[in-house]
Symmetry: C3
Subunit: 106 residues, 3 copies
């Protein structure tokens, strides 16, 4: 048994949670703030038996990995105001796997 | 030294916290959301020396274990509306015990 | 790699976070409540490689340790109301270092 602690962006958290539930993993969500920009994120606690760690990792990677996204940004040009697509990085997950010595459910 | 991470229902959290304090255990509470129904719950972090793990487990079990509860539920019958007691499951605790390599208080 | 879990008073948390960032440590903040008086505090999760544990400990100690502070307190005296400086203890940090078996960033 391990405890997976995954910190992901808030915008990825609902999709990730649904994917975890679909795969049969219960998770606990904690609202958190972090990173150099102090943006809001979500910390997931997931109890996982050892052989399922790779599957959980894959689900997290699939639903929360850092990726580029084009967003419209208002920009002033010679011809007046227009919107220019800007490439921003979204998502990203930081994942720790901690050993668990005892696990109980009451 | 171990870190006990206990996830319990919000409605059980105050009683559990009082019982932990009474027994001399300091705990830190984090508001959390979890389970398949995404209900609000509370995640406790409790630093515990090894010989006291069974005592902490017993306090958690006593105050937060899953149990049946009868609640009144409005129901329509042939003779009009009445309230029928309905058996629902409340409470429940998920507890992880993690090893601690170093502990400091400043 | 270790996970440092540090619980500090809310009033020390911003200064501590800045100091951690300045030293190059990313941290995740969770709002928490704890201690015998149930005051609001902050739980930091910090992923740290082993040789940097002493540096992180020193930063936490420097910015969050328990210390005396004189605060003005209204007091009634024979000569009418005045303010008397009162010595109160502020700050304080509880720090756990947990082993990490796997660490991933996506
Ligand atoms: Ni999906
Ligand atoms: Ni009781
Ligand atoms: Ni400073």
């Amino acid at each position: 048994m391990k405890m997976v602690i995954a910190i992901v962006q808030k915008k990825d958290s609902n999709h990730l949670q649904s994917a975890l539930i679909e795969a049969g993993f219960r998770s606990t969500r904690l609202a958190s703030v972090g990173g150099f920009l102090s943006e809001g994120n979500v910390t997931f606690l997931i109890g996982v038996v050892d052989p399922q760690i790779p599957m959980v990792m894959e689900i997290i990677r699939e639903h929360a990995q850092s990726r580029d996204q084009f967003v419209s940004s208002p920009a002033a040009t010679d011809l007046g105001r227009s919107t220019m697509p800007v490439n921003v990085q979204v998502g990203g997950a930081t994942v720790f796997v901690l050993p668990v010595e005892q696990f109980e459910q009451f």
